[in-house]
């Protein structure tokens, strides 16, 4: 267990923009430090100012390059920017292992940029629960904008939506047509589409397909909904990123006008509370698991003399009556 730190002082230093204090706070959060709750309590009064932007897209669309170029675009507008990169921590690829400075070299020495890679593997539910807490650290530290970058298409994208004010979905020509986009379930989650690598063949077609799918979708829905714009960009040449920022800002203003921003943030907080509550209940089950109860029950299920529901009954018995367990810090 790490030594006790002066949380109030750490939060003060983070709010002054000291990168090491920000990094330390995120580590306390990510490692589920015994001081996690103290940290959360100290951050609370300073949260709620950051604009939260989710960036997602399939591997190969140029997500890291786009994130980096988007950071530069925000910096040109004088914004302080935080980046949370949620990568699968593969033993092969870099992911969180590559380190944050290596990942986005050009911003490494910019005091107005905080970059943090978060590991996802091993945590139930991908983004939950450390990412929202890391986001609160960056928010309290005075970031005007926090970009949350996720890899792949799947569960984590759905979670990005619940975190972000605005979700940006990246595509690239040749990654599949509109039907494939629909199959991947990205049409429902995007507030802004970016067709990256727009200098390549097929970029116009991809943009047209997307717009067509968007208009088809709108017919099936109630009116008064946001129509996601489709922006073309060439991230590695830093082209089109100002248009992306404009589209994000337009969506943000649209949300704010309708009171939808407040609703999204309340929904995000509710999800966060629920995730923490579930994690706590889960760790109580884990306590029983430590007594090898779960393994014994699992063997009986495999043998066919118990069904999983009856086994779950036995596992849940007693949970909730133990409020003094080792789960105080989650």
């Amino acid at each position: 267990m790490a030594r006790t730190v002066d949380v109030a002082e750490l939060v003060d230093r983070a709010r002054e923009g000291q990168p090491r204090a920000v990094a330390r706070l995120i580590s306390l959060v990510e490692d589920a430090s015994p001081q996690l709750r103290e940290v959360a309590g100290a951050l609370a009064p300073f949260c709620g100012n950051a604009q939260v932007i989710g960036l997602t897209g399939a591997p190969g669309v140029g997500k890291s390059t786009s994130t980096s170029a988007l950071v530069a675009a925000y910096r040109r507008r004088g914004k302080r920017v935080g980046v949370l990169a949620v990568d699968p921590s593969s033993p092969f690829s870099g992911g969180a292992l590559l380190g944050d400075r290596v990942r986005m070299g050009e911003h490494a020495t910019d005091p107005g940029v905080f970059i943090r890679s978060m590991a996802t593997r091993g945590h139930l539910g991908g983004l939950s629960w450390a990412t929202p807490q890391a986001l609160r650290v960056l928010d309290a530290a005075g970031c005007d904008v926090v970009l949350v970058e996720t890899v792949g298409v799947g569960q984590s994208e759905v979670e990005v939506v619940s975190l972000a004010d605005t979700t940006v979905v990246l595509l690239a020509p040749g990654m599949g047509d509109g039907i494939q986009a629909a199959k991947a379930g990205i049409l429902e989650i995007a507030d802004v589409f970016v067709v990256n690598k727009a200098d390549r063949d097929g970029a116009d077609q991809t943009a047209r397909d997307l717009k067509h799918m968007i208009s088809l979708g709108r017919r099936e829905r109630e009116g008064g909904r946001w129509r996601p714009p489709v922006v073309k960009a060439v991230a590695f040449r830093a082209e089109g990123l100002d248009e992306v920022v404009d589209a994000i800002d337009a969506h943000h203003a649209w949300l704010a006008d309708r009171g939808e921003l407040e609703r999204r943030r309340a929904t995000r907080a509710a999800g966060e509370i629920e995730a923490i509550a579930l994690e706590r209940l889960r760790s109580r089950i884990g306590g029983l698991r430590g007594a090898s109860a779960l393994e014994t029950l699992a063997k009986r299920v495999v043998a066919g003399d118990l069904d999983p529901y009856a086994a779950a009954d036995r596992l849940v018995e007693g949970v909730g009556h133990d409020d003094a367990g080792g789960d105080r810090h989650r």
Copy 2:
């Protein structure tokens, strides 16, 4: 609430191979019927015979076509086959809405094949909890092989691994090189790689890249691990599928020889029990949510006068002391 059915009779009929009985049992499971636990109990003695195969890969690799061709390959070997297709239920794409018969026309009238599409959206954790239960229905109904097909790359793939005896990862030329595969986190989960669309340019390169990544990865790991074979196929022409089945069977035999099959299945059962237990605890939180406690807490977190951990404390209070709630059937 649906009328009460004679579960014992339904299980008998499913075991005789009546498709409607199988479909009905899966519906009871998927809809969290009041009779769900009765169903689970009735199935338990007949479970544990099916070989469970996970199929996954990014959108566009030809997953549905490959699944269909793989079903045909197993049918040629006289196996009864179940298919669980876990699709995001998009309002645009078909997903579960398209219906099962439309999805795989050629097998629709084959009494040795059961096909079922499952929706994933709205369930916490994607595949959990209905898919494992549907798998138990197909297992008890006498399927020799159950294929679990998932869409996209992400959380659901990790879950497929915990369900499957053998996980098959599909790729296609031009979908990205070995580095992209590593980024997507698929190298760790694959027991068998299939390079589909192998008649296209770049198929040999994709296969070579994969083999190279696999050999790199092995050096970093302990010895005695399974080395995933790379099989080339052209699914829409039904080419290469017998080789895929052979590779799957070789892996299955390898697992069985080492007692690893039993361990995988015990781990699967443990995950299933835990998911049910968590779902139950979650619905208790939901009960409190119904009283709008969560919404109130969320607004206080957004306003900054409460942190999420303190809010979760208040939410968890009382959970576990209410064993007579409306969560009996999960």
